[in-house]
Symmetry: C2
Subunit: 219 residues, 2 copies
DNA sequence: CGGTTTTTAGACTAATTGGTCTACAATGCT
DNA sequence: AGCATTGTAGACCAATTAGTCTAAAAACCG
């Protein structure tokens, strides 16, 4: 029913993403998005209430896409395997979807929260990461036998922060990920967890046994 | 000689940085910088040719500051110690200079290069990282006995990417770095280097001996 | 003091930007 | 065909933005 769309929302988001990637967040104006996508301003405002919404939806789309495989990886029954698979999922997503991965490396949630006014999008931004946080909490519990702040932090470090740090420079430079990086990420994540095992345990006064993260001596 | 300055350049850069940190790159307009710093537009344009120059100088200042201690750390005669000290320097800089560290976590060089027109600043942006690259190349040579692409990549991963990845989330959220993070970074960096030792060596057909990075078996 | 230099101060202009509005084109339905 | 619906198209407007310009303030110097 109705006229078929010539410039789908996804194409507009793609154009916005392309602009952000090549010219920074400041260059993604409505006119620039219109020029880049070929869609007239009318069509853009027909789908989105404002530029902020375009940018926010663009970012949310990228996060959702990246979360899919990551969450899947975390479901592995063996917690250490799950943590390392999470890192691998982040690495692989960067190879498979470079545009979205580069976007997530270039923009942070914090950059959007300030400007968004639409309450629906605000809530969405707030809740977007909840499932991942829950999954990581659960993984921390399985890894360390508890979900204390230190345990969760160590889990996020190994499964998210180290992998993201390892790929970020290559995403920014738009160069392929070096061979062997994946293995180095895994080794780094493994070692950080082992090292955290000691810390988390010592703050535990010895009540609950450590699990699955080695003896806490990194070497 | 001449009227004393009421609004020094550094204060204007501070205001710009504060805006970028709290409202994203889009919110750092001349008027906003003027309001934030208290300096009138005239004073801003008296010192800087354009907003782009303000943002670029602001970023360059932050990079310079962060490079100082990092380069110092890399000078350690023992290469493995130097690499780990580099990571520690990045970690410590984030605690000591949170504003600049947060800025560097929020903005990338790539976001500036596109918009800068001043040739002096363009060259400065290009050369800014050279000394660090040279030092890292040298460190790779000392660590792996060569400065192949793989060796340099592994060195940068351990000394820069992993530490930066470990602190980025905390900088974005403006929360203090967790206790024990520094040790976990060190363990991760150490393991990534050990793992890279194997890769770098196998691509070497066995001619030059590995040095200083363990036997290449992470565990 | 009068002259010079540097900075402040902000009114002003031109361009860009976000956003609105109306006319119309292309489809499905009856 | 006639009508409802959905999307295209871009002229148009108001607000913001970058950047200019002139006047004067505040220091130093001889």
């Amino acid at each position: 029913m109705g006229r078929p769309e010539l410039h789908p929302a996804s194409a507009i988001l793609d154009a916005a993403r392309s602009l952000v990637l090549t010219g920074g967040a400041r260059s993604a104006t409505v006119d620039a998005i219109a020029a880049e996508s070929g869609a007239p301003k009318g069509s853009i405002y027909h789908r989105f209430a404002s530029v902020d919404e375009v940018l926010t939806e663009m970012w949310i789309r990228g996060v959702r896409r990246s979360q899919e495989t990551f969450m899947e990886a975390l479901r592995d029954p063996e917690p250490l395997t799950a943590a390392l698979a999470g890192g691998r999922a982040i690495h692989d997503f960067a190879s498979r979807e470079p545009a979205d991965a580069r976007l997530l490396a270039a923009m942070r949630r914090e950059d959007l929260v300030q400007t968004v006014s639409n309450p629906r999008l605000m809530r969405e931004l707030e809740r977007l990461n909840r499932p991942v946080e829950v999954a990581l909490r659960d993984l921390a519990q399985r890894l360390f036998g508890r979900a204390s702040r230190a345990a969760v932090e160590a889990t996020v470090l190994a499964a998210v922060d180290i992998p993201q740090g390892a790929i970020r420079r290559h995403l920014a430079a738009d160069t392929p990920l070096p061979r062997g990086l994946c293995d180095q990420i895994e080794a780094a994540a493994r070692a950080s967890l082992a090292r955290a095992g000691a810390t988390v345990s010592t703050s535990n006064k010895g009540s609950a046994r450590r699990r699955n993260v080695g003896d806490g001596r990194a070497r």
